[in-house]
């Protein structure tokens, strides 16, 4: 699965025990086509799929931020998302789990990656399990995951899995051993799958309204 389009794929896991349907959304901020960021995102996605056992239907939706770059900038300016971005935001905020992968730009996540999460309501992802990944030219930037990505998702009150996956160019050409890229991908995917399956399926929450009498009572005001 290496197409650059935003696509949805339904995967029927074998040996599923219940009829629980879940959605995994993958956000990838790679800019080139093909991109190593997308490659890492696909590897993480496939590994997560393999780890999911207790789910009969797993829908995977991949969101390429490159295709939404203009919409994201316009949303910053107008304050509301256009239709394509709205659709992507709805997918992300209603996901059972997220995989988020960015290239490292100038010592951090890319501006496009940050901007996408900037237009998401700060409470909308609370409690969502997230697997974070990043790509870069050398391994020197790998702490971007711990010093930039993890705090960003902590601010959003997501549950970030302990293993974050960094892929430098050289990782694509090395293999074997417990610490190679494939092993880290599998470990991270197992952590994400476990969190996703332990969680009740994503709920579409209607905006709850606090009855007005309660708003007044909270202020000890007699309306």
């Amino acid at each position: 699965m290496t197409t650059a389009s935003n696509d949805a794929v339904t995967h029927r896991a074998t040996g599923a025990d219940t009829g629980v349907a879940r959605t995994l959304v993958v956000v990838t901020a790679g800019l080139s086509q093909p991109s190593s960021t997308r490659l890492l995102a696909d590897r993480l996605t496939d590994a997560t799929r393999r780890q999911v056992t207790g789910t009969s239907d797993l829908t995977v939706r991949v969101i390429e931020l490159r295709a939404l770059a203009t919409d994201i900038a316009q949303s910053m300016v107008t304050g509301f998302p256009g239709p394509a971005l709205r659709d992507a935001l709805d997918a992300v905020t209603s996901a059972d789990a997220l995989i988020a992968v960015t290239p490292v730009f100038t010592g951090s996540y890319s501006g496009l990656f940050k901007s996408f999460f900037d237009v998401i309501d700060k409470d909308a992802l609370a409690g969502t399990p997230v697997l974070i990944g990043a790509t870069g030219g050398t391994a020197r930037h790998s702490l971007v995951l711990e010093h930039a990505m993890r705090p960003l998702f902590s601010y959003l009150r997501t549950v970030v899995v302990p293993t974050a996956v960094y892929a430098a160019s050289e990782d694509w050409g090395t293999g074997g051993g417990d610490h190679d890229l494939a092993a880290r991908i599998d470990r991270a995917a197992a952590e994400l799958a476990a969190l996703m399956q332990a969680r009740s399926p994503a709920r579409v929450t209607e905006e709850a309204v606090v009855p007005f009498a309660q708003q007044l009572a909270a202020l000890a005001v007699d309306g």
């Binding site: 900038a73 316009q74 910053m76 300016v77 107008t78 304050g79 509301f80 256009g82 239709p83 905006e207 309204v209 606090v210 009855p211 007005f212 009498a213 708003q215 007044l216 909270a218 202020l219 000890a220 005001v221 007699d222 309306g223």
Partner: protein, 367 residues
């Protein structure tokens, strides 16, 4: 159904000439625009309230009082009055005074404001935005409905045996709208009091406002003020017209592209598709505006934003001519068709007085 205009009161350079009007010019232009609104047969003029450049209307009742003296029929309103940072006692006094001077041609719209520093400038905490809106309005409501008020709240000094003067004209306070762009709490507040709810309807797609208005209608019925169809709804809108739609697009584009709020973002075409902005012929504006009823139900007040983004006064006055002569008469006729009898008209002082008297008589009969 009432039709009118609402103004932000921005002082913005005309992007086609680079010329920026002075504050004095802009203030006088706003008065001219209000008078023109009455002249072309519109029902309402509403002004915003701002406390920072490049906006001039910091003192709405002063401006509206002046306009009241120069008009005969126009309802004078706000869009919005800051219920968070103004003292509710002063709002009660100022608008009751204006209501007397204007012989009842006054209502007002509560809003929280969208400029962060205004809160600290007026000694308030922005994190308390919603609680301030809730408590301050509870006090304002009490001051207008009860002669002698004892009060203790969280945000202002207590009151003992306080009477807000002048008392509302004929004992009936100005009608209140609550405006909100995104907060369901405000729709709930409007419903609780049986007040009106105004959806700005300019910057966001209509689906967003439909959710807020549906909530308001449901809760209005829940609180026993009438059926959901009897809830009092106002909508914003934004138009630019020429007889030939291509001329409208060509003339408005530089103003759109450089507009303070949405300029340098989406194209005019994208924005007109995604929001209620209509740039085209009077007929296109008529069709678009009539479609609001399909989305939001029969409603009571339609306000258009006409004088922003540096449009010169002459152009704004031309727009008002087109609005008053070619658009609103058709809208009045079309909106009246198929409108159920139980759906109320736009609120006026006289209607509120009549309703109060009717309800009093009914109570006497019951007693």
């Amino acid at each position: 159904m009432q039709f009118g205009i609402f103004t932000v009161g921005d002082v913005t350079a005309d992007p086609t000439t680079g010329r920026t009007p002075s504050e004095h010019e802009r203030i006088k232009a706003m008065v001219t625009i209000a008078q023109k609104a009455e002249e072309v047969g519109l029902d309402v003029f509403a002004t915003g309230e701002h406390h920072n450049p490049p906006f001039v209307p910091s003192s709405p009742t002063t401006m509206l009082g002046y306009i009241a003296a120069r008009t005969d029929h126009l309802i004078l309103s706000t869009s919005t009055t800051l219920i968070t940072t103004n003292d509710p006692v002063k709002i009660a006094e100022d608008f009751a005074m204006l209501q007397h001077l204007a012989d009842g041609r006054v209502d007002l719209m509560m809003g929280r404001g969208n400029t962060g520093p205004v809160y600290p400038w007026f000694g308030k905490d922005i994190r308390q935005g919603i609680p301030l809106a809730v408590e301050n309005y509870a006090l304002l409501h009490k001051l207008w409905h009860e002669e002698v008020v004892d009060w203790a709240g969280r945000f202002r000094t207590p009151l003992q045996s306080f009477t807000s003067t002048p008392r509302p004209l004929d004992g009936v306070p100005p009608f209140v709208w609550h405006g909100s762009i995104r907060s369901p709490e405000i729709a709930e507040q409007a419903a609780y009091y049986g007040d009106g709810f105004f959806a700005n309807n300019i910057f966001w797609p209509k689906e967003h406002f439909r959710r807020l208005i549906d909530l308001y209608r449901d809760r209005f019925e829940h609180y026993g003020h009438g059926t959901r169809d009897q809830a009092v709804v106002g909508l914003g809108g934004q138009v630019f017209m020429r007889q030939n739609s291509q001329d409208a697009v060509r003339e408005f584009r530089p103003y759109f592209d450089n507009a303070p709020v949405y300029g340098h973002g989406p194209s005019l075409e994208e924005f007109t598709e995604q929001t209620p902005l209509t740039v085209g012929s009077p007929q296109q504006v008529i069709e678009r505006t009539l479609s609001f009823r399909e989305t939001f139900g029969d409603y009571q007040r339609q306000l258009f934003l006409m004088d922003h983004a540096g449009l010169p006064l002459k152009t704004v006055l031309e727009q008002l001519d087109i609005l008053g002569e070619q658009v609103v008469p058709v809208l009045r006729e079309e909106f009246a068709k198929g409108r159920p009898a139980e759906v109320p008209d736009g609120p006026t002082h006289q209607a509120l007085v009549t309703r109060r008297d009717t309800e009093a008589r009914e109570q006497e009969v019951t007693a």
